[in-house]
Symmetry: C2
Subunit: 336 residues, 2 copies
């Protein structure tokens, strides 16, 4: 629906993790991505050619994607100015921020003047019902995290790829803006009205009768003081049969918040399983996805081995090692 | 802000608990309430004089309040027709349903034609920030529930009255539509965007330096498959120093949902304390509020005694017995 190829806008990001939208789209839809643009002051690159909006248009770009995220999802004056300049140069604009493109009069006027489109993917579908907690057919897996930005989306997409390669019916179900850009559909679960969180999760993973899996992208963490409500509602609505626990190796505290340690992995997993049992008493854990970004290969291997010993589950870094052993465990647990 | 006196509209409710908005306003703001109106088919009364919209206007009513709630908070065709007839008769209309009065073209047109006002109290304030989890000054108490509609708002208001009577600075902080009608302010916490639940709770109970208490109305239940995310975010944002556990004596299952038992009170309390510790490690439980509606006095006393023995906390029905012993415990626990 969103015209491609894309220019990915990184704003003035100086932090690798804040451009995860751009990086995710570039990693999982490389054929759609032409280049990147950033503001003065930005230091992060996702490895695509740097270009201005005019250069991107000249090379055939159709849409610029706001490729960074911030807490609260607001647009700075700088971002608004960039969006206007992109529209004037001839690009549609797509965003996954809470603050809508269409809420900015400048952006709206520039889009109308240029006869171009604005795509706000953080806008949830209308008429999501309240969650009903009723058991439904099909198998569902949810990636749960110890914190935000630990690799839940990447893990879920890697599981989809691996399961499909083995001939297992499996579909990624996006719950965040980046996932929605990648999948072309989904529910931005953190943007629904609070009473409808579990309903939104039920809505994107309805009953399925083909024996296949819905692989649901997790959000936030039960241990995050800002966002745990979203994580819990998603856990309840997903009625997950299987959980994969996602963690960044070595991260000991909730990112950006003082005074909030991440509990040990055993506690993290147990609390998620306990909460998940409210809507699926048979839920099991099938693996640990360990983000070992920045560690050398030996240290990464050691971190995975430690997690395996602690939890008795296969632990892999999906980027460095794939997710084959986690899928082996899924196959083994759900053989019947 | 909402012109009174009020006519309370009960729709076609046949279930006592679904008119809790009307009953709450009538119980806590009796001086503002003139009468009640219901549709054909409705069987519930809150004990006020029955009247038509025309009769209410003749007696001086200024506003009709939609006094019932349903799951999902939608307006039926019948409700819309009633609101239009009330506007034509000369009444403003106020509602706490998720579906906004202003979203109905018929209601909007009737209000414009009559030059009357529409009040949607489920509309959250703009610009609520993301929760930050930072410790803040002041004492806060949160009423948590084993289910919806067990008496969390009533309990909190009863605590405010009792504490004020003892000269303790204490303020009810409304988080639901009925509470907002009663208090004249608050945040409809189940209507904020999911990412901002704990932020909404921080917003309504900011740092206070006078040594007094914010008494925060709870919502839902950690054990409710539809709404637990709201309850958890509210728990985290409240940073409660004290919890009161609210329960309807004899209720063993989540209302309206099949297959979801309410855990025993010990488990309910422990899970709430465990979750609350994420943002306030020093949280303590100070009492149990037991709704014994429909039980005889002896049975009610027995139910309270059982809860006391089980949890080692004062247990009272705030309607039948007041909340004096719970306030005693608060005073005792926070003497220093």
């Amino acid at each position: 629906m969103i015209p491609h190829p894309y220019l990915l806008y990184l704003g003035s990001a100086t932090d690798e993790l804040s451009v995860k939208t751009a990086r995710g789209v570039a990693a999982w839809r490389p054929e759609l991505c032409l280049g990147e643009a950033r503001d003065a002051g930005g230091t992060v690159s996702i490895g695509l050619p740097q270009m201005t909006v005019e250069e991107a248009v000249a090379q055939g770009a159709r849409t610029v994607i706001i490729g960074f995220a911030n807490s609260g999802g607001f647009m700075s004056a700088e971002t608004i100015a960039f969006a206007v300049s992109a529209l004037r140069a001839g690009l549609n604009v797509a965003s996954g921020l809470h603050q809508r493109l269409t809420a900015s009069p400048e952006i709206r006027e520039a889009a109308e003047a240029a006869n171009l489109s604005l795509f706000d993917v953080r806008e949830p579908p209308a008429n999501i019902p309240v969650g009903n907690g009723k058991p439904r057919a099909g198998k569902r897996l949810l990636a749960v995290g110890t914190d935000c930005s630990v690799g839940k989306m990447y893990t879920t997409l890697a599981l989809e790829r691996e399961m499909k390669a083995r001939g297992i019916a499996a579909d990624f179900r996006a719950t965040g803006q980046t996932g929605i850009f990648i999948a072309g559909a989904g529910v931005p679960i953190d943007a629904v009205v609070a009473d409808f969180i579990s309903g939104g999760a039920e809505w994107i993973s309805p009953a399925r009768e083909d024996g296949g899996w819905d692989l649901i992208e997790g959000q936030g963490s039960l241990f995050h003081p800002s966002y745990a409500g979203v994580s819990l509602g998603l856990l309840h609505g997903s009625q997950a049969d299987a959980l994969v626990l996602c963690h960044q190796a070595g991260r000991t505290r909730i990112r950006f918040l003082e005074g909030h340690p991440i509990p040990d992995l055993r506690t993290c997993l147990d609390r998620n399983l306990e909460a998940a049992r409210l809507t699926n008493p048979d839920v099991v854990a099938v693996g640990v996805s360990l983000n070992t970004w920045g560690m050398d290969a030996e240290a990464a291997k050691r971190a995975c081995a430690e997690a395996e010993d602690l939890l008795g589950l296969p632990a892999q870094d999906p980027v460095a090692m794939g997710v084959g052993r986690i899928v082996d465990r899924i196959v083994q647990c759900f053989a019947a």
